[in-house]
Amino acid sequence: MSSGPFLKIAYFNLWRRKSRTILVIIMIGFGLASMIFSQGLYDGMMVQMIQDQIRTGTGELTIYKKGYEESKLLSNYIEDIAAVEDVLKGKDDISHFVSRVKCDGVVSSARYSQGATIIGIDPAREKHFINYKDPVVKGAFRVDGENNQGMIGEKLAEKLKVGIGKKIVIQGQALNKEIVATAIRVIGILKTNNPQIDTSGVLLDKKQVQQLFQVNGVTEFNILLKPDTDLKAQKARLIEEIEAKKGLNIEIFTWRELYPIVLIWDQVMNYFVYISYGIVFLVVALGIFFILFISIMERVKEFGILLAVGTPFSSICKIVFYESFIMGMLGYCFGAFFGWLSLYVFSRFGLDLSYFSSGLTDVGMAAVMYPVVEGGYFVLGLIAVGASSGMAAFIPLWRLKRLKAVEAIRFI
């Protein structure tokens, strides 16, 4: 038997009470659009957060000398830089790598002093790494060891109350246990959304840091991989090659291992998204349920006539399900379109949350957020609306099932 007439009955029945149906469709659409937007925003936030951490911190893989990660002792540095570079240069899956020297120390201005992470970098190589987007708030992305020039994080600059051209003094303990210090002129102020750099980072020329702290090597290699590279497999291959072929005693960490908090954030966000979807699911189901129930109670006599003339109950089910699904799907289309539109607009122009920015950047989040748009949101939304539309029809149908044709015909 063709479903066409039942579909037609269902469709036109919906529009017998236009304002009521439109209200439910708007309700479903609004719930879904806000859900899709929230999910895109959370995901965009996480992608940004992860990218910021990877690009300004660890890379996707980080190579340390064995024991460094646990102790952070400067003595655990990698001396044979060339050997590691030799292995890394030969890997097609690696898009870029840098080596850095990180030392703990103290940074002081005329007014203030605090603990600092002194990072020795090679600005030419960092160009494709830390500088993947412009982190420079003031000045330039440049370090100059010969002229004692370097960059500092934005929050650190605020605390030290220094600007471009001002001098700061860094001091720390060199490898030979002596306290060393030098004055640095600030030529760049950075905002990376990596709390380590923004709140305590002093970026200097790598050679200058090596000389100052008497380190004849680097403390870490940070590696970026090409898209779709298997992180764990690459890690295993690198360990094998560097240890076995080059005889170096190293250990490699993925960014997930170094930033477990980011993963926890990601999980929390996911739970939040699922809970929100559950709420949308409930709202959609209740909205459709109430409207269907009222609509069916208004039309009990009509259903009775359909049953009386021999319409099988399965066909009555079709009518009710179609009504529910049409309402759900119209709401879905409305919500999916506005969800997509809002994500598209904000993914291009960004959502400026700078009013809350100090709190956000403290936990490594950007003040301007760029949501992402993924097909999965719309599939998940479709499943949620589809399932809730289906479920919403059950109770009204159960009510109809209990009704005898003769009672329904008498029903006023």
């Binding site: 007439p5 359909l306 003339v309 021999g310 099988p312 066909s315």
Partner: protein, 223 residues
């Protein structure tokens, strides 16, 4: 064998805990094919109850309702729906067309449920519409038609699929005298030409006058 046979048919309605109303008190009736029978009697005499039981819309408290050799009182709801679909046509007092469908779609609805091909449905609908003088109304929806027009469409819906028996519960109750007479003539004509069996309830003397067989009910019994 009779088309329909009722044996000691009883129906009792229970309202609340203890209030019982005996609508039918043991009827024995037979209907042959091609009959044009009127069931009459005062309000509350059991006319509608009788038609509902014969049409498989309600179950008897006791007794049997046979359609040929099938006791439809023993059938399950989905089996009853199938029996109604394949054998019975219904004309209701309040027309009861499907409001969102056009007259044409209303008329072909039962044939569609029966699985009649679209081409055949079209042919039968147009033939019947011409026959009943409603071919101008086919694209109208029920709310665009008068009561008399709607009742003609309802008759067309009931008879177009050529059921074995058509039940009409007070079909002229909402019609003026002219439309009532026209409807009765139409039903007589279908009865004559198509040999279609009609059983209708009424308390309108004009309608009763036109019936070939008259069954008078009083207090749930044949008077």
């Amino acid at each position: 064998m009779a088309l329909m046979k009722l044996i000691d048919l009883k129906k009792t309605y229970v309202q609340g805990k203890d209030v019982k109303t005996q609508a039918l008190k043991g009827l024995d009736l037979e209907f042959e094919e091609g009959e044009f029978a009127a069931v009459s009697g005062p309000s509350g005499s059991g006319k509608t109850t009788l038609l509902n039981l014969m049409g498989g819309l309600d179950a008897p408290t006791s007794g049997q309702v046979y359609l040929k050799d099938t006791n439809i009182g023993e059938l399950k709801e989905n089996q009853l729906a199938h029996v109604r679909l394949m054998n019975f046509g219904f004309i209701f007092q309040a027309y009861n067309l499907i409001p969102v469908l056009t007259a044409e779609e209303n008329i072909e609805y039962i044939m569609m449920l029966r699985g009649v091909s679209r081409q055949e449905r079209r042919k039968r609908v147009y033939d019947m519409a011409r026959h009943l003088g409603i071919d101008e109304l086919l694209h109208k929806k029920p709310n665009e038609m008068s009561g008399g027009q709607q009742q003609r469409v309802a008759v067309a819906r009931a008879v177009v699929s050529k059921p074995r028996i058509v039940f009409a519960d007070e079909p002229t109750a909402n019609l003026d005298s002219t439309n009532s007479a026209n409807l009765l003539d139409l039903m007589r004509q279908l009865n004559d030409e198509e040999k279609m069996t009609f059983v209708f309830s009424t308390h309108d003397p004009v309608v009763i006058e036109k019936a070939r067989r008259r069954i008078i009910l009083r207090d749930g019994k044949i008077a």
